[in-house]
C-alpha cells in the first residue's frame, strides 16, 4: 500500500513569510509525528498526534510553529514569520506498533 507522503518536496520562502507543510500518513495509523532535521544532524521531535487526544506539542521550538491533524488523518505543520534558522528538512512519520514509517520530507529553505 501507499506509504507516508509529504508535500511540497521542496519549499523556498522569504524570511517573514508563513509556510504550510502537509503530511498524508499511512491509512489506519493513529499516531503521527513531525520531526525536523537540520543539515548533517539527527532528527529532532516536534509534535505528536495520537487519535483524538490532544497533541503533544512539547518539541515545538517556538510559538511560530503549530500543527493540526484533521479527521485523524492528514496533518499540516504551519510555520509563521519564518526565520533563516527554520531552514531544515521536515519529516513526518506515522506509527504502527513499534515501527515508525517516514515520509520523504519537505526541504524548507528560508532566504
Amino acid at each position: 500500500g501507499a506509504g507516508v507522503s509529504q508535500s511540497p518536496s521542496n519549499k523556498v520562502t522569504e524570511k517573514g513569510k508563513d509556510v504550510e507543510l502537509r503530511c498524508d500518513p499511512i491509512s489506519g495509523h493513529t499516531a503521527l509525528y513531525w520531526y525536523r532535521q537540520s543539515l548533517g544532524q539527527g532528527l529532532e521531535f516536534l509534535i505528536y498526534f495520537q487519535g483524538n487526544s490532544a497533541p503533544d506539542k512539547s518539541g515545538l521550538p517556538s510559538d511560530r510553529f503549530s500543527a493540526e491533524r484533521t479527521g485523524g488523518s492528514v496533518s499540516t505543520l504551519t510555520i509563521q514569520r519564518t526565520q533563516q534558522e527554520d531552514s531544515a528538512v521536515y519529516l513526518c512519520a506515522s506509527r504502527a506498533l513499534n515501527e515508525q514509517f517516514f515520509g520523504p520530507g519537505t526541504r524548507l529553505t528560508v532566504l
Binding site: L43, F45, Y48, N98, P104
Partner: protein
Amino acid sequence: SQQGEEDPQALSIQEGENATMNCSYKTSINNLQWYRQNSGRGLVHLILIRSNEREKHSGRLRVTLDTSKKSSSLLITASRAADTASYFCATDRDTGRRALTFGSGTRLQVQP
C-alpha cells in the same frame, strides 16, 4: 534534544569490507532501532532490537545491544556501493508519546 551519540561520524570503506557503527544513549529504553537515510531525505527502517534482546540479524545486518553500557552497534557485512548512506540509531522509551530520539548519525561511504 538528542539522546544518542554515534561513532564514527563518518566511515569510508571499500566494497566487500564490513562496516561497524556504534551508538550510545542515556536513558532506559524499550527498544532501539536503526534507520538508513539516503541523500538527506526519507528514512528507511532497518532493524529493531528490544531491550531484552542482545543480538539480532537481518540479512547482512547484525545489531547488538548492551543495556548495561547503554550502547548498540550495527554491523553491515560484505558492504556494497548501494549501502552508501547515513545511518541513525533511534531509541524508543515506550512511555507517553513514544517519539523516537535519534543519534547524530554515521555517514557511510562504500567505495566501489
